[in-house]
Every structure is written in C-alpha cells, then in structure tokens.
C-alpha cells in the first residue's frame, strides 16, 4: 500500500478511535455501562475531563510542527487537522456541558460568570477564537484563504495561552498539573520562536510556494 493510503486507511482511523476514547469513557461512566463510574460528582468529572482533553488535543496539535521538523517527517502534518478539530470538539463539549448540566441553563448566572469571572472570560474567549479556525479547516478554505490561512491559524498560539491560563486560574491551590501544561506550551511556542530567530524565518514558511500548498502536501507524500 502507498504510504499516503496507509495514513488514510490505517493511521487516521486509529487516531480517530484514540481521540474518541475519552468521550466514550465519559458516556460509559454516565450511563453506568461496564461498571465505569464517574464518582460522587459526575457532572464535575464530565466537565473537567472534557476541558482537559480539549487542552491536551490543543497541545498535541501544537506539537505537530516541532515534531515534524525535529524528526524530519513532513507527513506528520496530515494528522494536525484531526487533532485540532478534536480539540475544538472537546472544548465545545466542555462549554456545552458547563452551560447545560453544570449551570442548568441558568442564563443569568452563565452570562454573569462569563463577564465577571476572569478564568471563565478567558476560557470563553479561547472557545470563540477556535471557531474561525474550525470553520476554515477544510481544504477548500485553505485554498481560498491562501497565505491568509496561515496568518489566521496563528491564533492557535493565543488560544493555547488562554487555555492554559484558564486551567491555571481555576485551580485552588495545587498548581502542579496546570504548570505541566504551562511548561509544555512554553516549550512548543519557545521552539518556534527559537527557530524563527535562528533562521530568520518562521518555523513554517509564511507564503506557501506554488505547488507546495498545505493542501497539496496533505495529498502527496513527501
């Protein structure tokens, strides 16, 4: 089998299954299926798990470019969109879970929280910024936006900072876990900055060469 086909028919399906596992766990837990339990506060569990996985997939998305450059495996980029979209999906489910099962659609409280609680404001801003990225994730949109696509998708850096900040700020005292995310995101963004300084070029060329558009790279083996 051609390596592109292997990616399409083997690796990508495996990645989809892996990305869906956390959701399956929550569904099993909330329905009591197969003895999976979400503990005494299942709502908080669902809320926190969805948010954490949103953040994890975001970090994974950000890790693709450094990984492909360090390992010299350009085809890794073909997994980036999947990871990015799962990040969006989990963050969106996190928000929906907060509004519905956690807040019980109590809009007055929800709007007040978004406006008054900085960590919620930040998290909400990150969600809003993810929306244009998700919408423009299709091949068609990539082609249509051309070099603007890359610029727009640099929003991911800001979103990552907001996401980690959101997590850091909600923790009561033991910030070990959020600090792990801080370090990881700092490394992934720092790597890009370092490369940019060293080569005086962005980690990924700003303007895609003709015949070397991202959409082309998605289809052709490197």
């Amino acid at each position: 089998m051609h390596s592109t086909q292997i990616r399409r028919w083997v690796f990508k399906p495996i990645l989809h299954v892996l990305c869906l596992l956390p959701l399956l766990h929550l569904i099993a837990g909330s329905s009591g299926f197969a003895g999976v339990s979400l503990g005494a506060d299942p709502i908080a569990k669902v809320l926190h798990e969805l948010g954490q996985w949103g953040l994890r997939f975001l970090v994974a998305t950000l890790a693709i470019t450094p990984l492909r450059l360090m390992l010299g495996k350009p085809w890794l980029v073909s997994f980036r969109r999947i990871l990015g979209l799962y990040s969006f999906a989990y963050v969106l489910m996190h928000f929906i879970a907060w509004v519905s099962i956690d807040q019980g659609l109590y809009w007055q409280g929800i709007l007040e929280d978004i406006g008054k609680r900085p960590f919620i404001t930040i998290g909400f801003a990150a969600l809003l910024l993810l929306i244009p990225l998700a919408i423009t994730s299709t091949n068609r949109m990539m082609l249509r936006l051309g070099r603007h696509w890359k610029k727009l998708h640099r929003l991911i850096y800001i979103i990552a900072v907001l996401g980690v900040w959101h997590f850091y700020w909600l923790v009561k005292k033991d910030v070990t876990e959020p600090l792990i995310y801080v370090a990881t995101v700092a490394f992934l963004l720092g790597y890009r900055y370092w490369r940019f300084r060293r080569h005086k070029i962005p980690a990924v060329p700003l303007v895609e060469q003709r015949g070397n558009r991202i959409s082309d790279r998605l289809r052709t083996p490197a």
């Binding site: 099962i101 956690d102 033991d174």
Partner: protein, 323 residues
C-alpha cells in the same frame, strides 16, 4: 432535557424535623452491627488494619438539630472529599489513607484555660454521650452534601477545660504525620492545618465534635478520630484529625485564609451574597453519584440554612467585610 431538583426554597430554615427513618440510612447489616456494638463498651480508635470496617457506635438520634433532607450515601461521603493531607484530588483521601494510624491518639489542650494537658482520646470522649446529627455540608467549591455525623457538642468538651475570661477564640490543629499522610510530603499547604472559631461560635450548640459517620467511627479520610463540624460555615472550617485545642485571646490564623486572604476569610460563613473572587457562591450542586448528569444546582442558603440558629452571632457585623 434537564430535570430540576424539587424546590430548594423548601429547604430554607431548619425546622425541627421528624426523625429520618432508620431504614433510610442504615441497611440491615449496619443495624446488626449497631446491635452488636450496643452490647459492648463503645470503643473508639481503630486497631491497625481495621481501616475498611469502622466499628459501630452507641449513639442517640438528635432530631432537633437534624435536617430532613436525604443524606448522601456512605460511599459518596467517604470517597469524595477534600483532605489535602492525603492528596488534593477528591478521591485521594479515600485512596491514600489506609496507612493512617488512628490509635493511640492524644489531644493537647492549653492556653487561656484552667485545665491543661495532654489527654488520650478515650479520656476526652468518655463523659460525652454521642448523638447523631444530620447536617448540611457546604464546600467553598460550591458543592454540598447531607451527612449523618455522630458526635457531641463542642461546648460540652470545651467547658471541661474551664476557659478563662481571656479565652476569646479557640484554635485547632491537625496532626502532622507525613509518613502516614502522603499529601503532607509536599508543601501544598503550610502544615499543620490550623483553624479557629470565636469562642461564642465554638460554644454554639450546632458546633459538633464528630467521631463518627453513619453510626460508625469516622474513616481516616473523613478526619478520624476527632474532627470539628460547623455546618453554617464552609467545609474547610471543619478541621479534621485534631491533636491540639488552644484557648487564645487574639484571632488565630487559619490555613486557607493564610493561603489566599482575599478568597478565604476567617469566618467563612456560607453566604450566597458574597462570592468567592473566582466563582459564584449563589448556587451549589448537591453531589451524589445517584444524581447522574441531570442534577442541576440549587440556591445556596445564608448560613447554609442555619440562619435562624446562628444569625445572632453576627449581628451588626458586615458579612462582606468579615467573610
């Protein structure tokens, strides 16, 4: 589709309630255990390795102070709580407390009082008949439970030490034992955990020295062998595994208000009108695994619904300032 909990306003105020039928919170096996225990001298403090099966206690039902809301299950109460000495996760205390030795146990009493010294737990508890009180429990994190504690009024214990006129506050201290409490091996909080009450709060009939839960001695994760319960205050005031009680003249320090004075006050009275800087205190979730995902929040009550009993303690005080 969301299913709302039935009218939380009904819970406002505490009415002397009817005794909750035993069958609601004691299953047959527990009744048998209680019957066995009834014939024996009440034994407190657990032998090593008896972690899982706490012995039954001899106690009376105190209906006057109890609420008539359905208590959380034993499983929920003992597997979902904060006790940072055993870790910061909600399940950590139940998972990491198996090696905790509840016996022997002593409590040192001192400060502005006549009777001072170090007392064994047995001596401390001997004169006090135990009673069950079903209290609401409201965590500062905006979740809540209903818990059938077994204990006795704190005031009865404190009176034995004959506090003098300078005893304006009571300070409490939790044990430090990093070898048995893995959470204490990291400086997450400034160990030991300390808490305090104003003397009139401590002498209030609602303030309970708890030694049990659901008719059995406290499991280690819930603050064995001796813990405070002040149901009108956020849970962090209810200090666990107490080894020191001191009568003092000045307001003592308290762990969480030391950590973040802007977020946690000395009084820590449950108050839906005074938000935590990072989240609202107006509503709470009554947790419970049986609630599933359709278990939306209910309004939080001033003084956690104990307004009638305790509001007098704070008359003329600005509850926003003294939060």
């Amino acid at each position: 589709m969301l299913i709302r909990r039935s009218k939380p306003e009904d819970a406002a105020g505490i009415r002397p309630s009817e005794i909750t039928p035993e069958s609601v919170f004691l299953n047959r096996r527990d009744l048998l255990k209680a019957a066995v225990a009834a014939g024996l001298v009440v034994r407190l403090g657990l032998p090593e390795g008896a972690h899982a099966a706490s012995p039954g206690l001899n106690y009376a039902r105190e209906a006057h102070f109890s609420v008539d809301e359905a208590p959380n299950t034993y499983q929920d109460i003992t597997t979902y709580n904060n006790f940072y000495e055993f870790g910061t996760g909600k399940e950590d205390p139940s998972q990491n407390s198996a090696g905790f030795k509840q016996s022997p146990w002593t409590v040192t009493v001192g400060g502005e009082c006549e009777v001072k010294g170090t007392f064994t737990l047995e001596d401390l508890l001997a004169p006090h008949p135990l009673e069950e009180r079903i209290y609401r429990f409201r965590c500062v994190e905006a979740w809540s439970m209903v818990i059938p504690w077994v204990g006795f009024p704190l005031k009865d214990l404190l009176a034995r030490f004959k506090p003098n006129a300078n005893a304006k506050y009571v300070a409490f201290k939790t044990i430090v034992r990093p070898s048995e409490m893995p959470g204490q091996r990291r400086a997450i909080l400034d160990w030991p955990y300390v808490e305090g009450l104003r003397i009139d709060e401590a002498m209030h009939p609602l303030s309970l020295m708890a030694v049990g839960l659901y008719g059995r001695t406290l499991p280690s994760q819930n603050g064995a062998p001796l813990r405070l319960v002040t149901p009108w205050k956020y849970g962090f005031k209810s200090i666990k595994s107490i080894v020191e009680i001191k009568f003092v003249e000045k307001q003592p320090s308290s762990t969480w208000s030391n950590v973040a004075p802007r977020e946690y006050g000395f009084y820590a009275n449950v108050n839906p009108n005074v938000d935590h800087p990072r989240w609202s205190q107006a509503r709470e979730r009554r947790v419970g695994s049986s609630g599933g995902l359709f278990n939306s929040r209910q309004p939080t009550l001033l003084f956690n619904g104990y307004q009638e009993q305790v509001a007098g303690l704070y008359e003329g005080m600005d509850l926003r300032k003294y939060f």
